[in-house]
Every structure is written in structure tokens, then in C-alpha cells.
């Protein structure tokens, strides 16, 4: 739009006749998909790819495909793609680099999320080191692979093949071309019932039908090591759901992945719709906070079911707690949650009866989350008499469709949906799984203001450990969650107050990394792949 290619000549110079022609052909689409800055970066990246001297293919396919990636995920992903492609130059042929770029719109569309796309690029980097002959055949079948697997599943499938056929290149190629029985078998194993990207549109429509407004849904990738996805969570008004779900076998019959997705999405939406102000967690013990959350989950579901009665059975059938469960606080939460959700659930224990009567006692005030606060505080007192240890991270109600309730304590005070757009410009703090963690590049010079800080929930011991973890050697207590000040949100052009109460849980001490040495696990299984 308005932007003239010739005005940018100095940015890209002479790309060779073929690339130059493709650039002219792609320019219009590019200028529609990219901002003026993004366009300049796009041209610079094309230039850099040209200067690699790996032939015209990588440049040509970048020029052609980058706009599609920008349309799917935004232009940051284009920059990441370019960077990744440049970094691959020392490890592989121009043909493979071109293929990585050519398949990137497929990856973008199937992954549906910029963070997952970045993880995809990082994974390719790992794979180039571990199974150099596998990358091409895999990319040639990417559409099918990502049609059946999540990124985590694909990664496990690929690393399995890389392990098994590390030195036998022909076998490696067959594995990655899905031509060997072991390849197909592992694919079957990793396959998940329902992929988020395949149902995202219908979930969004469903929520809009119910509440007449938009909700932002995004996929999150599970821990690469396990097949379990992450729990859903709500942050900055965005509902994050696992990137795939299996069907569930339940006492009351099978629940398809789509049904579970619907239960998840509707539960999260119920929080967003019926919780009007944040709870203050000040002075609460973790057990109190968690008990309050159990009541709050029940409260928003009750309100939602008042408007949409059919939601109650949708949620109810996902409850499986029984009176026999009593070993941990989480077991009790599960029983209480079930008792609150299901009037037909019989549980003779007085604690369960007490939970029900507390809920009823506060029913008049159920429009406000104060009711959950009162009921939760009272019940937490009774629960503490069980004298069971409470572990906030493990002890939850066991209900996979419910989010982790961080939302209850932490969101903008002015609950303004018009102003509720996903934020993109803040520091990302993530707690990650071990594999994701160790495969990451560190930035040695980064400090607490790094773009991303990842925390590992468990202690990490160096390979050459002497019984001392990284934490003991160089750890420091992390700073509290960043405080946010009112900011101008350029995306929506609205001033948004950022009175989000800070987290109630004390900052967790964990293994923190910030670094860029390429740092890979030196366990026997992956030795020899350091790049």
C-alpha cells in the first residue's frame, strides 16, 4: 500500500535476477502483510540470505513465503524465521534451508501461535545436529505430520528416530520419510485425539454464541517430555488451552477431546464473564488461597449454568472424585469440587457436607467473589485439621478442564473487555520443563530485564555435578514479579490501567538461566550432538 519497492533499493541491493523477479511479484502481498518496519526487515533479511552464498533458493522462498507467516502469526515470527535460516547456514545445504522456509507457512498455520513457532525453529536447529539426513524428508511430509501431531509429539517422534538411527543414514531417511514400521509405530503412539488448531474456530464460535463477545484462545504446548499437556490458564484475558487432547474414558462414558475442550473453554470464559474484580490474596496462606479457588470455580460455574443450564452436565461428567480419596489435600479438593458441582454426588464425610452448606450459606452473595472468599476461609480452617501436608503445585482438584486459577488473583482491576487485548510487549516469565530448558540457548549477559526468564520447577544438576545444583552454585532469589505501570497499548489505542495485584505466592526459587552458550544436556543419550 503506497510503499514503493524501488524506494528501498539500498536495503536489498542486487539479489540476482530470479529473486529480484519474485520480489517484484511478492511485493504487493508483502506490503499488505507487513508494517513499514517489518517491510524493511523483510528486505534486509532477503539481502542477508543472499549474502550467505547458498544459492538463490533460500532467498527466493523467503521472499515468497514470509508474508504468509506474517499473516498467520505476526511479523515477529518472520524475523525469527530469517534468523533461524541464517543460523542454519553453517550446518546444512541451501536446499534444506529453502525447504525450512518453504514449509514455514504450514508450520505457522498448524501451530497457530508465535511461541510455538519459535519453539519449532529451535527444534529444527536441534534436529539438524541430531539427524541431519532426517530434516528434508520430514519437512516434505510436514503437512501430514503436523496434521496428526502436536509440536511436542512431533519432537518426540523425531528425537526417537534420531536416537535409533543415529549413524545409519539410509535408515534415518526412511524413518523421517515415514517409510519404516518403527516410524509409523511411534507416530501412532504420539498421535493425539484432537488438535487445538482443528477445533479453535468452533470453540470461538461457541463462546461467542453463548456470551456474545470475543474471547482470545491460544494453544500452549505441553512439556515435551510427557504426553500430558499443560493445564489451561488465563493471562491478560487470553485463554491458553493445551495444544491437543486425547479422548477421556470416564465412569459415565467417553468424553471426546472436543467435549473436553468445550468444558475447558466454557469454564475459562465463565471466569472472565462472572468474575468482576480480583481477589486480594494478601495475608492468605497457600491452603486458604487454594480453598477459596475451589469455591470460586464452583461459583462461576453455577452462575454460568444459571444462564446456560446445559453447561452443568458438561462439566459434571468430567468429575471423577470418590469418597475413597483422602490421602492428599488435592483429593479433598476433588471431592469438594465434585460435591459443589453435582447435587447427586453422595459423600458422607462431614467436610464435604460442610462445603455444601458453606456454599449455600453464601449463596445470596454469589454475584460477588467475596462469597468464595468467606466460604473458602472457613473451609480451609477445617481442612487444616486433617493435618495433611499441602503442596500448592501438586495439590489441586485434579480436574483437567479447569484452569490453574492464577486469573483469580491477578488481573486488571478495571475489568474492561474493550481494552482487553493480548499484550505482547512485556517480559515473559515461564516455568518450563527440563528438555525445553536445557535445549535453550542462554544469554550470559542477560539480567533481570531479559525478554524472557525461564524457571525450572525442579533443581538442575550439571552433568559434572558434585552434588551441587546450579542454584546452589550461582542462584539468587529471583526478584518479585514485575510491577506494571499504566501503559499505552498501541494495539488497541486505549490507555489501560494496570492495577494488577502482584502474585500472592512468594517468588519461587528455581534454577534460572540467562545465557547464550549453546548448552545441551550431556547425558549419554544426546552426547555428540553439541553444536
Amino acid at each position: 500500500m503506497g510503499s514503493n519497492l524501488d524506494d528501498h533499493r539500498e536495503l536489498y541491493g542486487d539479489l540476482g535476477p530470479r529473486a529480484a523477479e519474485i520480489l517484484r511479484a511478492s511485493w504487493q502481498e508483502a506490503s499488505r502483510s507487513l508494517s513499514p518496519r517489518g517491510l524493511e526487515d523483510y528486505l534486509r533479511a532477503a539481502r542477508s540470505l543472499h549474502d550467505l552464498g547458498r544459492g538463490a533458493d533460500p532467498v527466493a522462498s523467503f521472499i515468497q513465503e514470509a508474508p504468509a507467516v506474517a499473516r498467520e502469526l505476526g511479523e515477529d515470527s518472520v524475523a525469527q524465521l530469517a534468523q533461524a535460516a541464517l543460523a542454519m547456514a553453517s550446518r546444512t545445504s541451501g536446499g534444506v534451508i529453502a525447504l525450512v522456509i518453504a514449509t514455514s507457512p504450514t508450520a505457522a498455520r498448524r501451530l497457530g501461535d508465535p511461541e510455538l513457532f519459535l519453539a519449532w525453529l529451535r527444534f529444527l536447529d536441534v534436529l539438524l545436529a541430531q539427524a541431519p539426513r532426517g530434516v528434508r524428508p520430514m519437512l516434505e511430509r510436514l503437512d501430514r505430520l503436523l496434521g496428526e501431531l502436536t509440536l511436542g509429539g512431533l519432537r518426540r517422534w523425531a528425537l526417537w528416530g534420531a536416537q535409533a538411527h543415529r549413524t545409519d543414514f539410509p535408515a534415518q531417511e526412511r524413518y523421517f520419510a515415514l517409510e519404516s514400521p518403527d516410524s509409523v509405530a511411534v507416530l501412532q503412539r504420539e498421535r493425539k485425539g484432537t488438535l487445538f488448531v482443528d477445533v479453535q474456530r468452533r470453540l470461538s464460535m461457541y463462546l461467542r454464541a453463548l456470551w456474545g463477545r470475543d474471547f482470545w484462545l491460544r494453544p500452549t504446548s505441553g512439556d515435551y517430555e510427557g504426553r500430558e499437556g499443560r493445564r489451561p490458564f488465563i493471562e491478560d484475558f487470553v485463554v491458553h488451552l493445551p495444544d491437543a487432547l486425547d479422548d477421556l474414558e470416564l465412569p459415565g462414558g467417553r468424553a471426546t477431546g472436543l467435549e473436553t475442550y468445550r468444558a475447558m473453554a466454557a469454564h475459562a470464559a465463565a471466569h472472565l464473564v462472572y468474575t468482576r474484580e480480583a481477589l486480594s490474596g494478601e495475608g492468605l496462606s497457600p491452603l486458604q488461597a487454594a480453598t477459596i479457588a475451589v469455591f470460586e470455580d464452583a461459583r462461576v460455574e453455577d452462575l454460568a449454568a444459571r444462564d446456560f443450564p446445559g453447561l452443568a452436565p458438561l462439566w459434571r461428567r468430567l468429575h471423577a472424585a470418590t469418597p475413597a480419596q483422602e490421602a492428599r489435600i488435592g483429593d479433598w479438593f476433588g471431592r469438594i469440587a465434585r460435591a459443589l458441582a453435582d447435587p447427586g454426588y453422595a459423600d458422607p464425610h462431614p467436610l464435604v457436607a460442610r462445603a455444601r452448606s458453606l456454599r449455600d450459606a453464601h449463596a445470596v452473595a454469589c454475584e460477588s467473589n467475596r462469597a468464595s472468599m468467606e466460604a473458602g476461609l472457613a473451609l480451609a480452617h477445617d481442612l487444616s485439621r486433617l493435618r495433611l501436608p499441602f503442596h500448592p503445585r501438586e495439590d489441586f482438584d485434579g480436574l483437567a478442564y479447569r484452569d490453574d486459577n492464577r486469573y483469580l488473583w491477578r488481573f486488571d482491576e478495571a475489568h474492561d473487555f474493550a481494552g482487553a487485548a493480548p499484550r505482547t510487549d512485556r517480559q515473559v516469565r515461564r516455568r518450563v520443563g527440563l528438555m525445553e530448558f536445557v535445549n535453550e540457548i542462554e544469554v550470559e549477559t542477560a539480567g533481570d530485564d531479559a525478554q524472557e526468564i525461564w524457571t525450572l520447577p525442579t533443581e538442575l544438576f550439571p552433568y559434572e555435578d558434585e552434588g551441587r545444583s546450579y542454584n546452589e552454585r550461582e542462584g539468587k532469589t529471583p526478584a518479585a514479579e514485575p510491577v506494571h505501570y499504566p501503559e499505552w497499548d498501541y494495539q488497541i489505542g486505549l490507555e489501560r490501567p494496570t492495577g494488577a495485584p502482584s502474585s500472592t505466592s512468594p517468588p519461587r526459587k528455581g534454577t534460572r538461566r540467562r545465557s547464550t552458550r549453546s548448552w545441551r544436556p550431556t547425558s549419554p543419550s544426546s552426547r555428540g550432538c553439541a553444536g
Binding site: R202, R208, L258, R262, F308
Partner: protein
Amino acid sequence: MTRTDDPLSDYRVREEPWYRPVADEVTLFEAAWSARMPMMLKGPTGCGKTRFVEHMAWKLGMPLVTVACNEDMTASDLVGRFLLDAQGTRWQDGPLALAARHGALCYLDEVVEARQDTTVVIHPLTDTRRALPLEKKGELVHAHADFQLVVSYNPGYQNLMKDLKQSTKQRFGALDFGYPQREVETEIVVHESGVDAAVAGKLVSVAERARNLKGHGLDEGISTRMLIHAGALMARGVDPVAACRVALVRPITDDPDMRDALDAAVTTFF
């Protein structure tokens, strides 16, 4: 034309068509009628426009001549034409000429569907001339004192090619017909389909869900008419979820994602 003494006999409304007023449309229409002001009823399909005109015709004691407009319709279809028969050629008034000559309400349903060169024939009838030229016959019909023109128009069709000309629009007074308020719509569904108020209320709730998706994957919301269809199936013993599928969801969209979302919305009530 069965009886020679009353050419409009076929068009008399003998029994009261049940109509549930939604706002002040009945009084406004009566006032417009007494001024013989041409009226335009605007609103989505199936929200009661036709029923309203029928009811008003009955109330005013006027015959009602209805024309469903379509693209293939020519001016002759409205005005009239010469017919060939044993005796030679004979002029036959079209519906518009019939209503103008003898004094009736003439209702042009979905007037945008007609081509613009067809619609202009109503122009002289809808200004102070109140006359209809029958060009082929060489006659100028002066409209009967009781003649009134009513047209309906669905603004939901955002088709520029099909919009009415300003010179047409500005000849009419207009009444907006939306979907009725939930209590009113429930009452209508009860009356027309025979289901009880609880079931009708749920049907209206389902319709509200689909109306939330208008412009977000649906071109048009679920109409009152469709709810009556669903209710009629239920009143005949069809399972509610199946009735909603057949009468509401399947007709309104072919998009599999949309069907899934709407089916799921149905199960939040039935």
C-alpha cells in the same frame, strides 16, 4: 376474479390473523394509513412483517393484494398485460393496478429483489399524483381513495447492487421490525407452535445464541419463523435436540464449524 360484483373478493381478509404487537407499530400504521402514506417494513426475514400487514388489513377492513417480488419480475407482472383468448385480446390488470383501481392494500414483499426498472413503476403511485400509467393500454389509473402501498425490505442483505434507489426509499415511511423481545417472542412461539412457555423460552435462548454470531460467520440470525418450525416439530413429539438441528441449525448454515458451535449451544438449553 370469481365474483363480478367484487373484484377484490379473493383478497378480503375474513378472519383475524393473530398478531402480537411488539411496540407501537399498530397505531403508527393506522396513522400512516389515514394519511395514505406509503409504508416500508424493514427487518430480517421471518420476523413478522407479513403477518403484521395481514393483521392490519383485517383491522382496517381492507383487502390485501400481496406480491412476492423476484428478479425475473417485469413491470407488466405488476401493472398488467393483454391476454389472448378466444374472443381476441383482453386486458388484465396486474396486482398493482388491481389494488390501485379498486382500493386495496398492496404489499410488495422483498421489494429489493425486483430490478430497479421494475420498481420505478411505483413512483407515480407513491407521490402526490397517486396514479398508475398503464402504458400498453394507454390508460392512466387514478388510485382509489383507499389504496395504500406497503413494501418490505431486508436491510441485512448488504448487496450494493440490490439496494433500493434513494428516490424510491424516500417515498416511504418506515417501520423497523427486529426480532421481538424475549418475552414477546416466547409468547409468539407458544401461540404459533403449541409448545409450552418453558420450551418456547429455551428456543428463544437458542435463537439469541445464533443472533450473537450474525456477522461472525452467520449472515442472518435464527428467525421467529424458524423457532415456530422447531416448536412445531417438538409439539409433534420430535426430540428437542433433533428438532433444533432440523429446523434451526441445518437450514441456517453449511459451515461445519458453525454447525458444531450451534449444535453445542443447543445442548446448553435442551
